[in-house]
């Protein structure tokens, strides 16, 4: 899965907008949206909100968590805690990125929010990296990680399974080499074939 696909999934999130036009209910495959009545808040998918915003047909109401105080608190907690803190939204990064790109005028202190979210993201990424590092170093078999968002999992995805795979292969090779030299080769070959098939 690439980031675009994650973004696509995230755009299904509902967000509240204030339309500046009147329209009846729009029937979509995923469900009905609207009716739109000028100046009355209505919840629409994020992609529609961004689209309407680009057409200047609505004002976006930023999600509740998108304010300086709450994010600062979250950041502090994230710093303090060793594990991952639960994020207010499953797709906080994408939501923030889209809203801060397209609806800066609807969000108060947008620049500060952008910085804080970037900070939170960086903290979490460094946590992921360090935990992966310890996992590999200590040759642990498994690690439980809670509260990771889809995008964050996705950043580790191309690298970590592959690396672990390699580690596993080497280990296996090492363990099988010990008994006899002759069987090692065939085992190595077979394991290699097996793993290449599986990968």
């Amino acid at each position: 899965m690439n980031p675009d696909e994650v973004e696509f999934l995230a755009e299904k999130q509902l967000i509240s907008i204030i339309p500046t036009f009147n329209s009846n209910v729009i029937h979509l495959i995923s469900g009905d949206v609207g009716p739109f009545r000028a100046s009355l808040p209505v919840r629409v998918p994020l992609w529609m909100a961004i689209n309407l915003k680009q057409q200047r047909k609505c004002k976006i109401q930023p999600p509740d968590w998108m304010n300086i105080e709450q994010l600062e608190e979250l950041k502090e907690e994230e710093k303090r805690s060793k594990t991952f803190v639960k994020m207010p939204s499953e797709h906080y990064m994408i939501e923030a990125k889209l809203l801060l790109n397209y609806a800066t005028d609807d969000i108060s202190r947008a620049d500060e929010i952008r910085t804080i979210i970037k900070d939170i993201w960086d903290i979490r990424m460094s946590k992921i990296r360090s935990s992966v590092d310890t996992l590999v170093r200590n040759a642990g078999f498994y690690a439980t990680v809670d509260h990771l968002t889809l995008m964050e999992i996705n950043t580790m995805r191309p690298l970590l399974p592959h690396a672990l795979d390699q580690v596993y292969r080497m280990k296996k090779a090492q363990s099988t080499r010990l008994p006899t030299q002759s069987t090692t080769l065939s085992l190595l070959n077979s394991s290699h074939r097996g793993s290449s098939l599986s990968s």
């Binding site: 500046t20 036009f21 009147n22 000028a38 009355l40 047909k57 108060s108």
Partner: protein
């Protein structure tokens, strides 16, 4: 022993004033509505130390070297004592602090604020949130607070009628006493209900209850004693124990001061206020010398001596901390206050010599009453004129108008620089019009926005900017003696009301159409289409109720028609908003949050939406911006803790459903009934099916509960053949033979009446048959009433009747927005007719979806190409209008013939219709 009550002296400006003694009893500290703190070294100090703390302040308390002052910026300000210099802020709230209590022997201060917060704060340690104890459970504005001498108990009297006592340590309520008169804010409270704990041991709690003072035991909450004074009929507002705990002083809202000896329950003495003005603060001198300081609501400070019947030297409370210098008689101090001995004689001298002067100055002050944060005027003032959906004028950035079209904001209203003043107009629907910015050089303070024009005005000039493309703005200036007080605009009209009870009406593009007079001072007005709704005072307020009436003026073409529609306001409420629904039904909103609608068919105000049911907090308000009858909703802004929306951040609109105030709305039955009522009185969109469903559900509910009579009655009320058949089936299913029989009878009778209808009125236009019949009578009535309109009507009717060959021209005039106008056209006249309209209209209302159904086979579906329909080729409205015109024309000509032959217009009517039908047939056959 008699109390020696000194004449009061000026301390602060008119309004709530507070006083307290310093710990050593030598100084008096007062605060008031002028925002100053004064520290008086003795009652006769002519040069008190004074410092300004804000706009106003409600309470002051002193302890040690600190003054604690409740200021207007919602905080408790600290000051050094006796210097009076600022020393930081103790605590902040979201609303003004109403009262504080501070203990002598402990380090706690109790603070109550208007936002219903109660805090007990420890003073000694460094200030942080861990020292603040918060108590919850109030549901109204707190009026007073008291702490027991050991800081174990906390008592708060609150405007929700309850006096609550908390245990401070566990922060739990230990006792609730219902004794406080209900009030919605501290500012409006007539009685402060100041309570007090017995100061020595804290074993008793005293509270005022009407004209008695009740002391309860704080351990088992039994009543210890009830102190009464037969001579006093007014209610007590403040009670306080003397420092020794043996005496009780109580102040009433008529300015009386009563002192009892608690043990014997004997009244020691009563003193009366010279002008019966309510007292708002009272405190015993902590020295225990029988001296009481008090303040009244006009900012006067007073003092009463000799309030105890024993010399103070006999019993001095040891908790005083000043026990060493208390062994003197009532008015002999030697070390603490060197000139106290002279005070008495000086005061007497002054009273003798300067008494007259003082009363003179007092009356001066009375005449120049200013609005104070604590208006305790006995009579309710008449409500001022206001613009619907505008925020108060004193705000620097305010909303001038917020309605269904858009928002008009005004920036820098109170700035001196012209550069900063501007008006921004934002339209909800950006496809309708783009945002506008205007420079506000003229200081416009009023604005009205409609689909026709943006209108702005100051007191002498009105300017209208029509919103149609390619039009020019226009303005009118008034002569100097007139002043604009309110404006209104619609897509057809621009109206402005002046201070001499006149309303000028112009068209959107600047033609002056009419001037009308209103029968009293204007309150507010609003316009919609050709209609203008005006609210005015019909008289002085009666017992707190505003006497507001309203009238609906129709200004179509060059004619002016009026209909008085009274108003609907609950007791002691004010008008907060007035306007129209999207379908043109007049609506008003009272200050307690109830919406009323005036459906033209009912000719009465119907209360429809209690917004207080939807609020989270008793202090929250709802700011109505628009009413959508077709969506059955009210749009507005929920304002947290205020009546008006905030300017920044931009508040969000929310929608509340319109539902009548039926009792027991939680039950299914009431819900269904409420829906039936709403849908049959209002013109809500697409509810025919839902109406039927709801009716059937109500029927089923009644059946299931074995209430056959109720079920039958319901079906009879609604009188819909389809419903009757369904109901019959349902009754059969439930094996209710009797009910089913009755229903079949009903069905047949309904069918008969339907037949009758079709037979008597042979033309198939029976949608509003009774109105057709009533209409001529109405016209006649108007004509007979002999007003100047007669010639105008005649000419109009002539014109229309000559143009009847091309009736489409009249019907096309009604554009979509005035869909309701055609109905109102009728209703404006009908109420003049008394009985006919009342009885005929409900049955003929087009709003009841069922009646349409009822007539459906005959009239509802009208296919212009239908060959069997004799009326095809012309629409219903056209025929109606023609018919109407003809009949009224007939009336006009038959004016001299008397009105006793009521049948006559009908018969001619039918002939006309028949002729018309023939004509139609002819035309149709020709065309086809």
């Amino acid at each position: 022993m008699t109390i020696d009550r000194k004449p009061t002296r000026y301390a602060h400006s008119d309004g709530h004033t507070d006083v307290c003694y310093s710990d050593d009893g030598t100084r008096l500290i007062t605060c008031g509505t002028d925002g100053d703190i004064r520290i008086w070294s003795g009652f006769n100090d002519d040069d008190p130390i004074q410092t300004c703390v804000g706009e106003w302040s409600l309470c002051v308390r002193q302890k040690g070297s600190r003054l604690h002052i409740a200021t207007d910026n919602n905080s408790v300000q600290l000051m050094t004592f006796p210097e009076g210099e600022r020393d930081g802020i103790l605590v902040r709230f979201t609303a003004p602090v109403n009262h504080m209590a501070i203990g002598k022997n402990h380090e706690y201060i109790a603070v109550v604020a208007e936002d219903m917060e109660v805090n007990v704060i420890k003073l000694s340690e460094p200030r942080d949130s861990s020292n603040i104890l918060t108590f919850s459970g109030l549901t109204g504005p707190p009026l007073s607070v008291a702490l027991c001498p050991k800081a174990k108990l906390l008592a708060v009297s609150c405007g929700d009628e309850f006096l609550r006592v908390w245990n401070v340590e566990s922060t739990s309520i230990v006792k609730e006493i219902e004794c406080v008169p209900k009030t919605n804010s501290f500012m409006n409270a007539k009685l402060l209900c100041r309570v007090d704990f017995e100061p020595v041991l804290g074993r008793g709690l005293a509270y005022p209850n009407k004209n008695t003072v009740i002391i309860v035991n704080t351990i088992d909450w039994s009543s210890k004693s009830v102190l009464t004074c037969p001579e006093i009929e007014s209610s007590f507002s403040i009670v306080q124990f003397s420092p020794c705990g043996q005496f009780m002083a109580a102040a009433s809202d008529q300015g009386e001061l009563v002192v009892w000896e608690i043990a014997t329950q004997i009244v020691i003495d009563i003193t009366k206020h010279s002008r019966s003005i309510a007292l708002c603060a009272m405190m015993w001198n902590p020295l225990g010398n029988g001296e009481i300081a008090f303040c009244d609501v006009q900012g006067q400070l007073g003092i009463a001596l000799n309030c105890t019947n024993i010399p103070a030297s006999i019993e001095t409370p040891s908790d005083n901390g000043e026990a060493d210098n208390v062994d003197f008689s009532e008015f002999q101090f030697d070390d603490a206050d060197e000139d106290d001995e002279n005070v008495v004689s000086l005061e007497k001298l002054k009273a003798d010599i300067m008494g007259k002067e003082e009363t003179g100055s007092v009356s001066d002050k009375e005449s120049s009453r200013s609005p104070t944060p604590r208006p305790r005027t006995p009579e309710t003032p008449m409500q001022d004129a206001f613009m619907p959906t505008s925020t108060p004028k004193h705000l620097s950035s305010r909303y001038l108008c917020w309605n269904e079209i858009g928002i008009v904001r005004s920036y820098g209203c109170n700035d001196d620089l012209d550069d900063n003043k501007s008006i921004e107009v934002e339209f909800h629907d950006s496809t309708f019009h783009n945002t506008m910015m205007l420079r506000n050089f003229q200081d416009y303070t009023m604005s009205s926005l409609s689909t026709g024009a943006l209108v702005v005005a100051n007191s002498s000039q009105i300017k209208a900017i029509p919103l149609a493309a390619g039009t020019k703005e226009w303005s009118l200036s008034l002569p100097e003696e007139e002043e604009i007080i309110c404006i209104a605009s619609s897509n057809c009209l621009v109206c402005f009301a002046t201070s001499n009870y006149l309303i000028h009406i112009c068209s959107v593009f600047g033609t002056q159409k009419a001037v009308v007079s209103i029968p009293g001072p204007l309150v507010s007005m609003s316009a919609h289409g050709y209609f203008l709704l005006v609210a005015y005072h019909d008289g002085a307020p009666r017992k707190g109720d505003q006497c507001i009436k309203s009238m609906l003026v129709k200004l179509e073409g060059m004619s002016v028609e009026n209909k008085n529609i009274n108003s609907a306001l609950r007791p002691e409420t004010q008008l907060q908003w007035i306007g129209f629904t999207d379908l043109g039904t007049p609506a008003m909103f009272d200050s307690f949050g109830l919406l009323y609608l005036y459906p033209s068919t009912s000719n009465i105000w119907l209360p429809f939406c209690d917004t207080t049911k939807h609020r989270k907090n008793p202090s929250d308000g709802f700011f109505v911006t628009a009413v959508y009858e077709s969506f059955q909703s009210v749009r507005g802004i929920r304002c947290k803790g205020s009546m008006y929306p905030s300017f920044t951040p931009r508040p969000n609109l929310s929608e509340l459903p319109i539902e009548p105030l039926f009792i027991e709305m939680a039950t299914e039955k009431s819900q269904l009934e409420a829906n039936l009522f709403t849908w049959s009185t209002l013109r809500v969109e697409n509810v025919e099916k839902k109406f039927k469903e709801t009716a059937l559900k109500t029927f089923a509910l009644a059946c299931r509960n074995d209430l056959d009579q109720r079920a039958l009655e319901l079906v009879e009320m609604i009188a819909n053949p389809q419903l009757v058949t369904l109901a019959t089936k349902y009754a059969m299913k439930l094996n209710r033979q009797r009910l089913a029989e009755k229903l079949t009878e009903l069905a047949s009778s309904l069918q008969e009446s339907e037949w009758d209808n079709t037979n008597t009125d042979q033309s198939s236009i029976v949608l509003t048959p009774t109105i057709e019949n009533v209409r001529p009578i109405n016209k006649k009535f108007i004509l007979n009433s002999g007003n100047k309109k007669t010639p105008k009507f005649k000419t109009r009717n002539d014109q229309v009747s000559t143009s009847e060959t091309k009736p489409t021209s009249t019907s096309t005039v009604e554009n979509s927005i005035e869909a309701g106008t055609s109905d109102q056209d009728i209703s404006v006249n009908t109420p003049i007719n008394t009985q006919e309209s009342v009885f005929s209209e409900p049955s003929s209302t087009p709003k009841n979806p069922f009646l349409k159904k009822l007539k459906k086979p005959n009239s509802a579906v009208r296919n212009p190409l239908n060959l069997t329909d004799p009326n095809s080729g012309c629409t219903l409205e056209e025929v109606n209008i023609e018919k109407e015109n003809k009949s009224s024309f007939n009336n006009g000509t038959n004016l001299e013939k008397n009105s006793e032959k009521r049948k006559r217009p009908d018969s001619t009517d039918k002939q006309e219709v028949n002729k018309q039908r023939k004509l139609d047939k002819f035309m149709f056959s020709k065309r086809s």
